[in-house]
């Protein structure tokens, strides 16, 4: 009876994972199913775009933080220039992130963008400009999140490497120091 092992491999934050997937899936589902029922375009547009925007907010502010420990935003400094700021959890907490969580996070982001691209191609082929608009908005929101988090992850890796180098260098220097003080 190895009950302890499956618990470790489960999702660490099931609620967050659920919401992360829920808004994306409901936006896609609503768009696809309502196109079949041929409802009023306004309702389709508003609900799909609102769900997509909610999903963007949830991913950027909640699931990014909790599932992968990353966060990105844009700030305008005193000189009036815009800078992109990235934030990540420190070393120990990053190591404790559930790999299943982060796998789900990244793959749903990519899948979402891919689905919207395919739907966009369908709309283009059918020459439905208004549906292309909906798809365009949802796709741009998805891509914005992908780019933001990818940049954030790259910076996190750079920072960890620099931190590791710094730790090694300081250790080396303290060893040298102690060596010289002994002599």
């Amino acid at each position: 009876m190895d009950l302890s092992q499956p618990i470790e491999e489960n999702y660490a934050n099931p609620k967050t994972c659920f919401f992360h997937v829920f808004f994306k899936a409901s936006a896609l589902a609503f768009y696809i199913l309502s196109a079949l029922f041929a409802d009023s375009f306004v309702i389709i547009f508003v609900i799909t775009v609102v769900l997509s925007a909610l999903d963007f907010w949830v991913v950027k502010n909640v699931s990014g933080r909790i599932l992968v420990g990353l966060r990105w935003w844009n700030e305008i400094n005193d000189q009036g220039e815009s800078t992109w700021k990235f934030e990540c959890l420190d070393q120990e907490s990053l190591a404790l992130i559930n790999p299943k969580d982060s796998w789900l996070f990244w793959w749903t982001l990519y899948l979402n963008a891919a689905c919207w691209t395919i739907l966009g191609i369908f709309s283009l082929v059918r020459f439905q400009a208004d549906y292309v608009l909906v798809v365009g908005v949802c796709l741009s929101l998805g891509i914005a999140n992908i780019i933001g988090f990818t940049k954030c992850r790259k910076d996190a890796k750079k920072k960890i490497q620099a931190f590791a180098t710094q730790t090694i260098a300081s250790r080396v220097s303290s060893t040298i120091q102690s060596a010289f003080s002994i002599v």
């Binding site: 005193d78 220039e81 934030e87 420190d90 559930n98 920072k159 300081s170």
Partner: protein
């Protein structure tokens, strides 16, 4: 051994300074990257240090923020000690909101409700800054520092919905046209300012033009409720003037004074066309 001690002192000093130099270089290279990632480190010193709620939201394997706060407590921020009980989130979010200068340190572990409240209050404060008369407003070019696109998104959708509601036929086309016109118009107006050699940040300008739609939103709502043409014309004129007045300081401060009219005229034109849409819909 005093002999060996005196022997090693000069050597020790030079090697010590070398080691110090190397350490300083490493520190400088770590901290001087253009987009370095801080492990929940606080932002630049001039900003006020803000006490952050350290109550964990996550019931998971990730350890509670006490480990994070202990690693960040030896940084510049004197607050967020690991030992004392965390202050209540409500008090913290209000103190976080008060600065209005971007997210506070350690936002990685704040409760979700804090994030929601922070974003909502940012929308409200941006709205107040942009749209309402404020004699104590500082340099308008810098006032919308904390831009966000949620306010403009809500306003554009609301305007599209109102117009669509008021239309008796072709509701979908009205909505799509209104949305596309406003979104594309905002992008093109921003490009216009940038091409005129103005100094404005793309998203800041989008955000501004979106917030300045708020008076027209109100105008459209009133026109939807009251169907008299004269009332509509008056209401639209008033709200149009209000919108243009709100957009004027930001746009004009962004460009060369000789090109102010070139930058402002298209903005005015866009708002006039939206006004006509509002009047013409029946």
């Amino acid at each position: 051994m005093s002999n060996s001690h005196s022997d090693t002192i000069p050597l020790h000093a030079s090697s010590q300074s070398d080691i110090d130099e190397i350490e300083n270089l490493i520190h400088a290279s770590v901290q001087s990257g253009p987009a370095t990632v801080h492990p929940a480190r606080p932002p630049s010193p001039p900003r006020a240090s803000i006490p952050v709620s350290s109550s964990p939201f996550i019931q998971s394997n990730i350890p509670p923020p006490s480990s994070l706060s202990s690693s960040s407590s030896n940084q510049k921020v004197p607050s967020v000690p690991a030992a004392p009980p965390p202050p209540p989130p409500v008090g913290n979010s209000s103190s976080i909101v008060a600065t209005g200068f971007g997210p506070p340190p350690n936002t990685l572990t704040e409760p979700v409700w804090d994030t929601v409240k922070r974003d909502l209050s940012r929308i409200v404060s941006n709205l107040k800054l942009v749209v309402f008369p404020n004699p104590y407003r500082e340099d308008p070019g810098k006032a919308l520092r904390d831009w966000d696109l949620w306010g403009p998104f809500f306003f554009i959708v609301f305007l599209g919905l109102t117009l669509s509601w008021s239309a008796s036929v072709k509701k979908s086309e009205v909505f799509a046209v209104a949305f596309a016109l406003l979104a594309a118009g905002a992008v093109i107006l921003t490009l216009n300012v940038l091409l005129l050699g103005g100094h404005i940040i793309f998203f800041q300008s989008l955000s501004l033009l979106g917030y300045c739609l708020f008076p027209l939103d109100i105008g459209a709502l009133i026109c939807m409720l009251k169907d008299n043409v004269i009332v509509k014309v008056i209401v639209v004129c008033v709200t149009l003037a209000w919108s243009s007045w709100a957009a004027y300081p930001f746009m004009s401060s962004a460009v060369n004074p000789r090109r102010k009219a070139l930058a402002l005229y298209p903005v005015f034109l866009m708002y006039v066309s939206v006004g006509f849409l509002i009047i013409a819909i029946d």
